[in-house]
Structures are given as structure tokens and as C-alpha cells.
């Protein structure tokens, strides 16, 4: 059994607490021109309490901090909806090539053809994978892509003469969905789903004041929306558009193309499906694919191929504008490009097949021990509820106890429709042994909840720190270090 434990885990202060006047960790050449100063009234005093430390202290500081973390490189990371797959290291080598890492975004097109070609080709490849004829690599993250996609939808409707007022969103949707709709000036109407969204329910809510339906497919329960084709038809029948949150694309590559389902707009998460690292909270990238009708509204600029070369096209009057500076998170695009080129069609298909295999295997092993609220076929993730936990234990307790067993917990308490939801997404890069260890631990924990619930409620005990007082953090927010702060 994979019991979480540590070698020597060192304590470490804040970098500011290491500071000693005069210490420095940086070298600069001699100034080879006369020193110039700004007028006094524009010049600051020294940066108060900024760190003064040596290079070795910086290295030890962050090395120790890293040792308190857990990454995909440490172990199994079954966060549902996040696709924590292995991040290939060749992606990192690729992104660090000086010709890719150091090129300035305003380098003239004639001198950035290599970078532009990567952008052009990645757009095409994502288009082929999803079925969308036009793809933009502009957005910096999934939520950013959602905002972009919803703005495209609104711009389309405005051009038709009526922006419409409402957006339909199933109750299982990720929180960014309604937030993005609101930022486009829409009203959100929540639709109930029961495992899957029904075309009838959608049609009942659909009228000509509804601009769009936002769906996730597979949905956040890991189930393929069986009626998706009919749902799209029902929305289109009243002139609406369908937005798909493509976070769960890892289940469908080479299996099914979202554009073939009738979807009009979809965002990708390169940091999920396409193996770019999560970085402790970013950076990622959120490309958006659209139908031909919606292409004119995509952000500026778009890349075009002409006479064997690439150029930027800013002459697009219907574009929604831009949502960030420059062309996109190019460093992330390079990583995704590298990944897709290495896998090819067969590799991507195998990825989805093994992702779905791994998730169903977990489902089969855990179903006798955990309550499965929805019985339809799972794809790349499976959702259990807390119902079978005993001893007054809740999902949070089981999650913390999993940490003691050496695993990062799955996603918990999402989607909201399942009480104490436990959403498990293994991804395709896990071995069967790793998955078996995880299932063994989960089963043990279910048993512990009946035999000795305190083990769950007091968990985690094997970690450097125990459960944090979140109420204190929210009531008396302390969001920065200060010297001589009074306690």
C-alpha cells in the first residue's frame, strides 16, 4: 500500500525573513555609459523590506518549498475535470529553444515565420481533431476561451439584429460558464439535468430570446450527452447557438468530433487534454474552435498563409477585438504542438481509449464500495457520492485521508448536483498498478469510515501541516507579509 510518508522535510521561512542588509544574489556587468538619474520627484526611495538574500539562499528556499508540494511527477493525481496527465519533458526542451523562447511579439513577420508556422499548423491540427474549420489560439486559459467564445456568439447575434437576452446552462456546469455568460451581458437560466441533459428540457426552455446553450460534453459527470445532436437541433431551431466547454476532450479524440454533433463554438484546454503542465495554477491556454459562420468574429489578428509565407490579418471588421496583448500563450502552444506531432492520429486515439479504459476500471473496482449516483456508461471520469461513507464522515474527510495514503485527492464537491461528489479522472498515463494502489486505498478508507471514523476526521496526519483554519483566513485576511506585524 502506498502510504504517504516523507524523508527529511525541512522547515522554511518566508524569503523576507531570511533577508540581511547588503546580501545580493545577482551579477550585473559594469555600467558602460554615464550613469543617468531621473528627477528626484520621479524617483522612489528604496523598496522597503524587499528581500536581500544570496543566490544559495534563494535556491534552498524554493527547493524546500517545492518539497512540500505534490505534482504529477510525484504521483497519481486523479482530479476530475482537470486531466492531470503526465507532462512530457520533451515539451519543455521544445519551448526553451532560444528561437522560440526569445522571439519578441513585434518582430516583423518576415523574421518570425517559424513561430507563425507553428501557430498556423496548431490551429489546423486542433481544427482537425475537433472538426471546427476555424480555430483561434488567442485566449490565455480555459475561462478566457469561454469568454472569447461567448463574445463571438453575442457578436454574431448582434450582427443579425438582436443580441438576445438569455443563456441556458445545465446545473452541472463549471462555475466559469455562468460567470462568462454574465460578462457578455446575458442573463443565466439554469436547466435541470438528471445524469444527462434532455432535448425535451432544452426545447422547453428554448425561445428566440435565448442566445445560446452552454454544454459540457462529456458532461461533468463523465457521461456522454446522449441527446446532444437533438439538443443542438432544438437550439438551432430557434436561432440559438451551442457553446461547448471542451474541458473533457480527453475522452473523444479520434472517437467523435464535437463539430459533428452540431456544436457551434468550443474551447480547448491545452493544459488538460494536450499535456502542457498545470504550473501550480497556470499558465495554460484556451483555444477556441468555431463554425465558418462565426469565423469573422474571432479575435484579431488571425494568421493567413499566402504565397508560401504567413502573415497577420488585422483587417477584420467583425472581430470582437482582443482579450489580451499579442498573439497567444505561444510558449504553451509550442508544448501542445510538440505533443500532437509526437502522438499523431493513432497516439491521440489511443490516449482517449486508455483514458476511458482507466476510468471505467476504477469505476468497476470502486462501485461495490462507493455510491454511484448515475449508472450510464462513464467515459474518462467517474463521479461517486459520499452516501456510503459511515461514521458521520463526509467526502472532505475521505479526501484528506487519501493524502495520508500518498495520493492527491480527486476533485470534491463538484458537480454540485451530487451530494459530496467525488470526481475521479485517472487519465491515460497511469499504469494499472498505480490505479490498483489508488483503488485499494479508497476501499480501505471506506472501511475505515465504519471501523474508525476518527482516522478520516483527523486526517491528514502524515503531512507537514494539518488541516488549515480556513475560517480564520477568511475572517481576518492576511494577504501579505509585513515586518514587525503585530499578532
Amino acid at each position: 500500500m502506498n502510504i504517504g510518508t516523507t524523508g527529511l522535510s525541512l522547515n522554511e521561512k518566508l524569503i523576507f525573513e531570511h533577508s540581511r542588509p547588503g546580501r545580493q544574489g545577482f551579477s550585473l556587468p559594469e555600467l558602460d555609459v554615464p550613469e543617468a538619474a531621473l528627477p528626484d520627484e520621479l524617483t522612489r526611495e528604496e523598496i522597503r523590506d524587499f528581500p536581500e538574500v544570496s543566490e544559495v539562499e534563494v535556491v534552498r528556499h524554493f527547493t524546500r518549498l517545492s518539497s512540500w508540494n505534490y505534482g504529477v511527477d510525484s504521483g497519481f493525481y486523479p482530479l476530475g475535470s482537470c486531466t492531470m496527465k503526465y507532462n512530457p519533458k520533451v515539451n519543455e526542451t521544445a519551448a526553451r529553444k532560444p528561437g522560440l523562447a526569445y522571439i519578441h511579439p513585434y518582430t516583423p513577420a518576415a523574421l518570425s515565420q517559424g513561430a507563425m508556422e507553428i501557430i498556423y499548423r496548431l490551429e489546423k491540427m486542433l481544427g482537425e481533431i475537433s472538426g471546427f474549420p476555424a480555430v483561434t489560439l488567442h485566449p490565455a486559459a480555459g475561462a478566457h476561451g469561454e469568454l472569447t467564445g461567448m463574445m463571438v456568439i453575442r457578436a454574431f447575434h448582434e450582427k443579425q439584429g438582436n443580441p438576445r437576452r438569455k443563456v441556458l446552462i445545465p446545473d452541472t456546469a463549471h462555475g466559469t460558464n455562468p460567470a462568462s455568460a454574465i460578462l457578455c451581458g446575458y442573463e443565466v437560466v439554469s436547466i435541470p439535468s438528471d445524469g444527462y441533459l434532455s432535448a425535451e428540457e432544452v426545447a422547453a426552455h428554448m425561445d428566440d430570446e435565448v442566445a445560446a446553450l452552454m454544454v459540457t460534453n462529456p458532461n461533468t459527470l463523465g457521461l456522454f450527452e446522449k441527446e446532444i445532436v437533438e439538443i443542438c437541433a432544438a437550439v438551432h431551431a430557434k436561432g440559438g447557438l451551442v457553446y461547448c466547454d471542451g474541458a473533457n476532450m480527453n475522452a473523444l479524440m479520434g472517437i467523435c468530433k464535437p463539430a459533428d454533433l452540431g456544436i457551434d463554438v468550443m474551447h480547448f484546454n491545452l493544459h488538460k487534454t494536450f499535456s502542457t503542465p498545470h504550473g501550480g495554477g497556470g499558465p495554460g491556454a484556451g483555444p477556441v474552435g468555431v463554425t465558418t459562420d462565426l469565423e469573422p468574429f474571432l479575435p484579431n489578428p488571425r494568421i493567413r498563409q499566402e504565397n508560401d509565407g504567413f502573415l497577420w490579418d488585422e483587417n477584420r471588421p467583425d472581430a470582437i477585438g482582443r482579450l489580451r496583448a499579442y498573439h497567444g500563450n505561444f510558449g504553451i502552444l509550442v508544448r501542445a504542438y510538440t505533443y500532437i506531432r509526437m502522438l499523431g492520429a493513432e497516439g491521440l486515439r489511443r490516449t482517449s481509449e486508455m483514458a476511458v479504459l482507466n476510468a471505467n476500471y476504477i469505476r468497476a473496482r470502486l462501485e461495490p464500495h462507493y455510491h454511484l449516483p448515475y449508472k450510464q456508461r462513464s467515459l474518462h471520469e467517474v463521479v461517486f457520492s459520499e452516501q456510503h461513507l459511515k461514521g458521520g464522515c463526509h467526502t472532505m474527510d475521505a479526501a484528506k485521508r487519501l493524502i495520508d495514503y500518498g495520493f492527491h485527492p480527486p476533485t470534491v464537491y463538484f458537480p454540485l448536483v451530487v451530494k459530496g461528489a467525488i470526481m475521479i479522472e485517472p487519465t491515460e498515463t497511469e499504469t494499472r498498478e498505480s490505479i490498483d494502489e489508488f483503488c485499494d486505498a479508497m476501499i480501505r478508507i471506506a472501511e475505515e469510515s465504519g471501523e474508525n471514523p476518527e482516522l478520516l476526521k483527523r486526517a491528514p496526519v502524515n503531512t507537514r501541516t494539518r488541516r488549515m483554519d480556513e475560517a480564520l483566513a477568511a475572517r481576518k485576511p492576511k494577504l501579505r507579509w509585513e515586518k514587525h506585524a503585530k499578532e
Binding site: Y413, E470, A471, A474, R475
Partner: protein, 128 residues
């Protein structure tokens, strides 16, 4: 689950204490337990006009946020100044020290819409 006899209740889990034409409002024991440790309370200013069924304030816990709805229409005549600095009082004493606002009633017939303690008890049982 505490449900004081002398109070009235709404379906959004607010309680109401009626004293002639001024009512005191807070959230119930059920509400504070569902929310968990309360970390922040947003109250309207004294003098604000409120409408029955419309939100007048917000209660936040670590993991959830909830609007608080006015049970009756009228004007805010007093707010609990202690709450912003000690929101946890709503958890420890939801019906007394955790009171939120006092509203001067416009239309006393609105009180008839509220549930009494027994009806609220039944309502909670049906919700489960």
C-alpha cells in the same frame, strides 16, 4: 435544530421577530449550520428601502455565499453593528446576538405570508 416558538420564518431560512411595526430579522439555525463557519456579512445602510422577497444583504462562509432576503417591505431602521467584526456570532447565536437588521413595516398583511414555528419545522422536514 432550534426553532423558537415566538418567531416567524421564511422559506429562505430567515427568521422574523415581530414587535408592533418593527421586525427584527436574522437567519435560522438551519441556515447557519448549512453555511458553515461564517466569515463575512454584508448589511445595508440604515434608511435603505427593502422589498419583500428581494435580497438586502449577503452572508458568506468559507465555502458558500448566500443572499439574505427581506421577509417584509419597509425601511431599515437599525443594523447590528457588531456583526461585521464578529460574523461568527451568527453561528453561535443565530436568533439573539446574530440578529442582522430591524425593518419598519410598510404593510403588516405581509406577515401573514410567513410560516410559524410548526410550519417551518414541517417545511424543514420536507426539504430533507
Amino acid at each position: 435544530m432550534e426553532i423558537p416558538e415566538e418567531l416567524r420564518f421564511t422559506e429562505d431560512h430567515e427568521w422574523v421577530l415581530v414587535e408592533e411595526d418593527v421586525v427584527t430579522v436574522g437567519i435560522t439555525d438551519f441556515a447557519q449550520e448549512s453555511l458553515g463557519d461564517i466569515v463575512f456579512v454584508e448589511l445595508p445602510n440604515v434608511g435603505t428601502k427593502v422589498e419583500a422577497g428581494k435580497a438586502f444583504g449577503v452572508v458568506e462562509s468559507v465555502k458558500a455565499v448566500s443572499d439574505v432576503y427581506a421577509p417584509v417591505s419597509g425601511q431599515i431602521v437599525e443594523i447590528n453593528e457588531e456583526l461585521p467584526d464578529a460574523p461568527e456570532v451568527i453561528n453561535t447565536s443565530p436568533y439573539e446576538d446574530g440578529w442582522m437588521v430591524k425593518i419598519k413595516l410598510e404593510d403588516s398583511s405581509e406577515l401573514d405570508e410567513l410560516m410559524d414555528a410548526d410550519a417551518y419545522q414541517e417545511f424543514l422536514e420536507n426539504e430533507e
